[in-house]
Amino acid sequence: MISRLGGQTSVLFQHWLKRRIPAASQVRLNHRRIFIMPTRAGMGLLLLLVIMLIGAINYQNSLVYAVVFLLGSLFWVGLHHTYRNLAGLELQANGSLPVFAGEEAPLNLTLLSERREHQAIVLFWPSTPRRQVDVEPGLSTSLSLYYPSTRRGWLKPGRLRVETRYPLGWFVAWSLVDLDWQVLVYPKPLNLPLPGLQAGGAGEGDQLLAEGVDDFQGLRSYQPGDSKRRLDWRAWSRGQGLHSKVFAEPRHTSQWLTLEQTPGQSLEQQLSCLTGWVLQLEQRRRPYGLALPGNRIGPALGETHRDACLRALALHGVAR
């Protein structure tokens, strides 16, 4: 019952938070977005002040009173400084690259401060270690935060907690920002032998493939999507522009990859297996196509093709 109630309040809180701090790739922290509370150290100070105040009253000691009041107003001044240390800070999400499930997804972030220095800014999600940075005024500080990816599909890390206790540690000012990050997580690749290749034939195929790669035909000007491995760096260094080497297409037939070929029991295992095969085939430069229920990608080679296949595998059956 209580947990249900707690769940409801947390849902309500999330809802409220969503309206108050809507998701955006760039957020500037202001009074609407910053929360502030005394920390345990701050409460400890207040307790200390109460004890000292009782001493001041009992001993009728003006100077002990003065110490109590000085620390009391320091507490109040500290509140504003802690708030100020966070206010005006801008957070900007930068694009992020896909990762394989199980890897830590790097989330790129730029912290900007126009006018003021922001010291000891702590960034973290509830499940990640804390990262502390200082932001200089007029400069942008870029950093990558790492978020563990567990499942394939779209990874949306929850709200990032940005907090600071600077300068006195008696208050914590924080904000929960949703920088609208989403990272594509490919299935975790499984390294299983490719189907349709005999144990011996695999080597033969490799040979064939190797010859095919060496079958150099000529150069053509670079087009986006061409593999970096095929760039003619030598020509580029001579200042003749960027060119890709063109090879004769390998003569063997292309391979279709389907769910049925995979040995795995569950869909996730099957997709992992296909991911592994895609990577192997791409490495061996053997054209492949992917046939998933409802999604067919014709046989081809190259990074663009590989990424399209991996993306299809990652998003198979995932509602966008």
């Binding site: 150290a41 400890g44 100070l45 200390l48 004890i51 000292m52 009782i54 001493g55 001041a56 009253i57 009992n58 001993y59 009728q60 000691n61 003006s62 100077l63 002990v64 009173y65 003065a66 110490v67 109590v68 009041f69 000085l70 620390l71 009391g72 107003s73 320091l74 109040w76 001044v77 500290g78 504003h80 400084h81 708030y83 100020r84 206010a87 126009e114 006018r115 003021r116 010291q119 000891a120 270690p129 804390r130 502390q132 940075v133 200082d134 005024p137 007029g138 206790r165 600077y166 300068p167 006195l168 540690g169």
Partner: protein
Amino acid sequence: MSSHALIPRNSLVWLLTAQVVALMPHLPRLPLWVAVLWLGCAVWRVQIQRMRWRYPGLVVRMLALAAVTLGVYLTQGTLIGLDAAVMLLLMLFMLKLLEMRRPRDALVVIYLGLFIVATAFLFDQSIPLALFQCFSLLLLVAALVGLQQTPGRNDPARAMRMAGVLLLQAVPLMIVLFVLFPRMGPLWAVNAPGQQARTGLAESMTPADVAELARSGGLAFRAAFDGAPPVQSQLYWRAMTLSRFDGRTWSQSPLASGSMPRHWEPQGESYSYQVIATASHQPWVFSLRGASSDDERLLLNRDFILQARRPLNQGMAYRAMSYPASLLEPLELETQQRRLNLHLPEGFDPRSRDFAAELRQSHPDDADLLQALLRHFNREPFHYTLRPTPLGQHSNDEFLFDSRRGFCAHFAGAMTFVLRAAGIPARVVAGYQGGELNPRGNYVLVHQFDAHAWVEAWLPGQGWVSVDPTFQVAPERIERGLQEALQSEGSFLEGSPLAAVRYRNIGWLNNARLFWDDLNYQWQLRVLGYQSDRQSEFFRRWLGSADWQRIGLVSLVVLLLCMLPMAWWILRPARRPVSRQRRAWLKLNRRLARLQLQAATGEGPRAWQQRLMQTLPGQQAEISDFFDEYVRLSYATAPGAGEGSSRQLDLALRALLRALPRSRPPRPITLAGLPDE
């Protein structure tokens, strides 16, 4: 602050400094081994930080704790009470260094430090200590800031700067709170800190045993009169009566401390004054004859002397009113009182008794006898000195008839003895006589060396009459003070060659001393003495009434008036850092605007330069110097690299500004040369 973080070096630097500074005011009260212990702990902690030594194990720490507790017990004789508690706290403050691993432990040490800074004020409340403790607080706050800084930022000065800013910003609110926070009486009775040496008057006097009276230049109290103060020879500050005599020593009678109201008739001129007594750890307070006070902390004892209900463990300010010419108990003296004030022990001073009998025979009237006795002191060759001859068993006899050398206690004791022997009830009154007027603050300063003793005799119809035999012997002592009286002897404050009071004849030194004393007086009065009565007085003066609703409302308004601007000041938008070129550019354009020359929006420096050179042909060289420098700095240098050369820009700007005409050039400016945008 994650739980696994280590203590940043920034914080540790300030923490160790703050610790030694916070301990310093306590060290003089503590045995030497405390300082040694601190040094040991600090060295150990530094070695831990340098990864040379390791943290002590549990056993070592427990042993250290036990040893320290034992040490406190041996030093203080107890583990209960404020002194022992403070000392134990200091020990924990030091030992905690050795188990300070995490920021959280450091926080505990800092909080202990704050507490220790405050406890020092229980023992001493002087201005120098207050200033010193500001410094301690600054260091502790710097340690606190260092704890929050990003680890690896090796910049302790920055933490210190931040701490200074924070503390300065906290001061206005502190002052408002200090003034407005309602003061109340103690919640429960507390023991005074310290078995400190009692200062000031002794509870008894044994003049016969004194070979040399050492007197200190310390302050006893200050008194501010509402009007003009009485002349010095009338400033007899009464502190206690000494009615019991055992043949050698005069001491207080327990009968005196009763507070039964006695009959007295105020007469003559009245004086209203405020006395600010220093902490003497004794119950004596000081008032002129015929005193009364509304102060609840005081009572009038049956010998007409104001007394504090509790020892003065800290400075105390009280108001009193005196009619020095009053009649005290004029109608009759109680039997018990009469017996007490006539009592003399058997077997002492036969010659004095004979002398009294002689006097009695020639002067049957008590008042006549009293005058005759005073004349005797005046006529006979008595000598006032602080180096009397030690006296034997019949001390009064030897003093009155043989040595005749002594100070106030000898004269007062001997006179009281003779009066009693002649059948006149008499007692010794101890207190202070005189005082130095500080013209700066218009108050009277009474030092310990002003301590004095005189005589009170009871005469029928007149009650208790004060007489001073010392006045008969050394009138300059009464009229101009001790220093004058001892000029030939040179024994004034012999034991304290550095006491500033000794050098009253050196003008500037004396002024400095009086200034410092006035500062202390105001401090004592306005800061230390700001308790419930002074606070309500303050409210009455400023608000017209001490009505709590009104005070509450006004306090709230004042608090807001202090807090809101302060909050605004802290949160004000920071100024955007402006580059030097930009500043120079703006400065030049402001100046040119006076000549009605303005850069068009979007006009670049070169175009603007062209136009200026056409309109101001006389300053072409300076203009092109400035703009060359400006363009070079803005466009040809890497950002941040132009520190040195921007000085050249400033120089060029200054030369240009100097060369520009004061007002608009007489020739109308043609806009023909304006380049197209």
